[in-house]
Amino acid sequence: VSSGTVQLRIRRSEPGYAGVRWETFEVPLEDRATVLDALFFVLRERDRSLAFRCACRAAMCGSCAIVVNGSERLACKTALAEVANGRPVRVEPLRNLPVVKDLVVDVDPLFDKYAAIAPWLHIDSRVHEPAVIPASDQRRTEISEGLDCISCGACYSACPMVAADPDYLGPMQLLRAFNVLADEREEPVAAEPRLEEVFGRHGVWRCHGIGECTRVCPKGLNPALAIRRLKQGALLDAFS
């Protein structure tokens, strides 16, 4: 390996068309280069059949989440130099989702479960003010902590409980569920079907507080804490 380059090891496959193989490419380690830049280098200069996903390239859209050296990262936000460390950089598709081709996974299961918790606010028809919780309020702070989610699926990929129970809703979904349930503009009746999902058999109680979701979140959010708050709220309700 000459100086100024990095070995990039890519896990490639296309179910139904090509089996799993690891391919290694030598990519330039340019100043401020990201893992996404390295993937584009491979696509443009080495192998035009490589498949990966990206859109905004600014850590806003969540399209480019992949597994780098065993941890979920956004390819566009991850500095190549930071993950290189003198050894080959290993990139793989997200876990817990079916691979379509190379680094691209089918995100339908992710968003089907998101839809299952009805991730929007059902504003109570009796509420006439657009905002009823003061910005400085503790409840508002707890909600705000989860609003930056970009639905990249990193937490869902990292979660061992999703791996153990494929029907488990998942951290991204439960974080969103906390946000809408904690909002007091929410209409109680409209929340019923969501409560069944969130506190049902494949809901919050599946979480064992392992915390991989929080560790890998590229936006620094804490889904594990949101899930704990949902459990806490349910217990307080049960014993009140």
């Binding site: 296309e14 068309y17 696509l43 443009r44 035009r48 059949s49 490589l50 498949a51 990966f52 379509v100 081709k101 190379d102 691209v104």
Partner: protein, 202 residues
Amino acid sequence: LLVAGEDAGGAHGANRLGGNGVAESTVFGAIAGETAAHDARELELADFDTALAAEIEHQALVPLAADAVRGSDPFAIRARLEALMWERVGLVRDEAGLRSALQEIDGLRREAEQLAVPSHRRLNLAWAEALDVRNLLEVAELTTRSALERRESRGAHYRADYPDADDVHWLANVHMRRDEVWTAPVRFTRLAPPGRVTAVPV
């Protein structure tokens, strides 16, 4: 045809040629969405020319069947087009630069007739790039031709050979069709520049 976002353009006047499309995505997004919902309910499907559709499909598929060794690389053409647009159709423009840019775009377009990509279709990024490159060449030519047409400087359009704004001749929008360029006066609605121009009531 319904558009929203940066494609809708215009919300910031001459100030921005693109980018920061928040107003365009919210305002025109709402208009486009409401219109699409209405049209989907009310309009009959229009007839289309099946022979033309087959030809468009054929053109889209051509790069998949092309000889990868002798064919041209969509990523390389895009990189050259981007460099060209930055150099000669970018911040400072003049007639000589714009005319030579048009010639080079034409050359790139001829190279793009020979685009070649891997033949397997699923998630084929090179194929997507090839289709994008054709559209980019189209837009590059439209941008360059309209910049050539506007012989003044206004907003983010700066012509070194016409450095001042010319309100006498150029309170106008440039319109284009293939091989056809014309101008039409700006229709002022809520605001108009000071002087003899009056706003048209909305």
